[in-house]
Amino acid sequence: MSGASADPGLHTAADTAVALRARFPEAVVRSHTVCGQVVVYVTNAGAHAVLEWLRDDVSQQFNYLTDITCVEYRDPERELEVVYQLRSLDRKVDLRVKIPLNPDGPLEVRSVLDLWRGADWLEREAWDMFGVKFRGHPDLRRILMWEGYAEGFPLRKSFPLRGHWSRAEQTRQALEANPEAYYSLEELSIAEAYHELPLDVRERLAKAGKVLP
């Protein structure tokens, strides 16, 4: 690889891909360059160790998490990907790391909240829109859709543009929506109000999957 040298400042993203293959031979599936940007595919099991090494190793220093998102292709044969867009602010290098997942299988990856605090809302959004679970995230709630939203995960390709339900059904559900469901259990526990709620409110909360012990 050209550009490789002892000075960490001269490592390009392509060098990082080579270093990753050498260091994590069983975790790195493949890597390629597209539109001048390096993409590394890693296995679900090895992803967290790879990301931690990328953040902490002195030759890498990917200290800035630009984005976490998911991609599902129209081709049902292709895998659903969890995409991490990383940046090293000091070295001025970008890298994209992808975890391919079987779209029909369990969608679960390990949270990187322990590495970058910025992952908090990004992972919640990925869960909200794609249904990818982030193991270890302490507060994995829906973020853009409301709590108790039952129609599915809007950015999945199996989700029609106008939703699964008819307009009439959606309107009926919206009119029936109970405002108490928007309060998270955390908020209710701060107010210590849960046990003082009227019975019918508690029943509706239970319908949204929220019960305090």
Binding site: Y64, T66, T69, D75, S184
Partner: protein, 428 residues
């Protein structure tokens, strides 16, 4: 007189049918055994701010846990403006997505249009013309100025200063007039197209911008006089909502929020696009990471934007705006009506759209709010497989609970204002 049904329904929700006080879900829940005095300092109070509240700068809802006046916890709730833009984009041609980008960060619509066009051009490997490049630089810096003017004006109102708001909105109006004479729209400009712009600027437009560039620094000086050494302003902003550099990076902050904390990350300098590296401008960096530094950074950024616009105006020469590839840009309307070939290209583009090759690209630009990323995945068809917006104020707002650590309730309003959120972009 018998009570009417409607009156029953409108009665205070905290009372039951017999008029006895009933505990409401999110109020101060006082147990009957406790005396009134226990409420003061003994119990945590939960205050709900928004989603319909002028100081939340959009439909943001904050649930604040208070101990007296001190904030113990802040829980933001978003999603009230969710419109599913990313999903809609998967059903549209690339040029049809541009009107959607207007409506994300609606305080800087031109910069959003251009960010999206740049991403598609990176995906297709299109080289835009020199005049188009300079017009885009000017449009981006105009957006930066109007966005920061709204920020400084509304934040001033939140902290009790009304007059500078009027001065700044007067200047903002002048840029809106320029936007209107260029695109026909003031807010939803849709100015960019893949490979060009919707139109060249009209005659005399550059003189109007030169006049703005010449006189606008006067307003900056006036605002500086009113705010920078103002005891109330300093007292409300200095040392409030502090974020150190390490945390700012860890929380993925960007834009003025990150730079006020002392991190010199500006996409225009670190990953130059639109030839920003050949412009002479400085990136202001804060020192303390508080609201005051965010204010200073944004004020200086407006002055730097003026410098960039001056240089761009000097470089601007007549010439073509759109690339000369009929598969990418529409032929002139006059030719489409008289020339067979031009009509075929017109028809094919309108009916079939532009088809980038299969691939993917992440393109980040420095928007007024921070790094706006566009992540596009194409499978070779005319509609993207995935159009992801990396919204800067989404990530900046996510740090609000951390910023409000140890603050007072009145500080929450100031800190929330200092983030410069725009809900259209956060909820998308």
């Amino acid at each position: 007189m018998t009570p009417r049904t409607i009156e029953m329904e409108l009665s205070t929700p905290g009372l039951d049918a017999r008029g006895q006080v009933r505990n409401v879900p999110l109020g101060v829940s006082r147990r009957p055994s406790e005396s009134v005095n226990d409420d003061f300092g003994a119990e945590h109070m939960l205050v709900n701010i928004g989603p319909q509240h002028p100081a939340t700068h959009g439909v943001l809802r904050l649930v604040v846990e208070l101990e007296g006046e001190a904030v113990k916890r802040v829980i933001p709730h978003i999603g009230y403006l969710h419109s599913g833009f990313e999903k809609l984009g998967e059903y549209r041609f690339y040029n049809q997505i541009i009107p959607l980008t207007d409506r994300t960060d609606y305080l800087s619509p031109m910069a959003n249009n251009i960010a999206f066009a740049l991403a598609v051009e990176a995906l297709m490997g299109i080289q835009i013309t020199e005049r188009c490049r300079l017009l885009r630089v000017i449009a981006c810096e105009m957006s930066r100025i109007i966005s920061h003017l709204v920020w400084a004006g509304t934040t001033g109102i939140d902290l009790g200063a009304y007059t500078p708001f009027l001065w700044m909105f007067e200047q903002r109006e002048r840029i809106y007039n320029l936007q209107e004479s260029w695109t026909g729209a003031r807010l939803t400009t849709s100015v960019a197209r893949v490979g060009g712009m919707m139109a060249d600027v009209p005659d005399g437009w550059e003189d109007g911008l030169r006049e703005f560039v010449r006189t606008f620094p006067n307003t900056l000086r006036e605002v500086d006089t009113m705010f920078t050494r103002n005891a109330i302003w300093c007292g409300r902003t200095q040392g409030v909502g502090v974020m150190n550099a390490e945390d700012a990076i860890n929380y993925s902050l960007s834009g003025p929020m990150l730079r006020a904390s002392g991190v010199a990350y500006d996409v225009r300098k670190d990953r130059p696009y639109l030839g920003y590296d050949e412009f002479d401008f400085d990136v202001p960096i804060g020192e303390h990471g508080d609201i005051y530094d965010r204010y200073r950074v944004r004020m200086e950024e407006m002055a730097q934007s003026v410098r960039i616009m001056e240089q761009a105006l000097d470089k601007l020469r007549p010439g073509p705006v759109d690339v000369a590839d009929p598969r990418i840009t529409l032929p002139p309307k006059s030719r489409a009506m008289s020339d067979m070939e031009a009509m075929i290209f017109h028809f094919k583009q309108v009916m079939e759209g532009i088809k980038p090759p299969a691939g993917e690209v992440y393109f980040g630009v420095e928007n007024p709010k921070g790094e706006l990323g566009t992540y596009l995945v194409s499978d070779g068809t005319a509609k993207p497989v995935r159009w992801r917006i990396r919204p800067p104020s989404f990530l900046n707002l996510a740090a609000l609970p951390k910023l409000c650590d140890g603050a007072l309730l009145s500080d929450v309003i100031a800190i929330n204002a200092s983030i410069d959120i725009v809900m259209g972009e956060i909820d998308r």
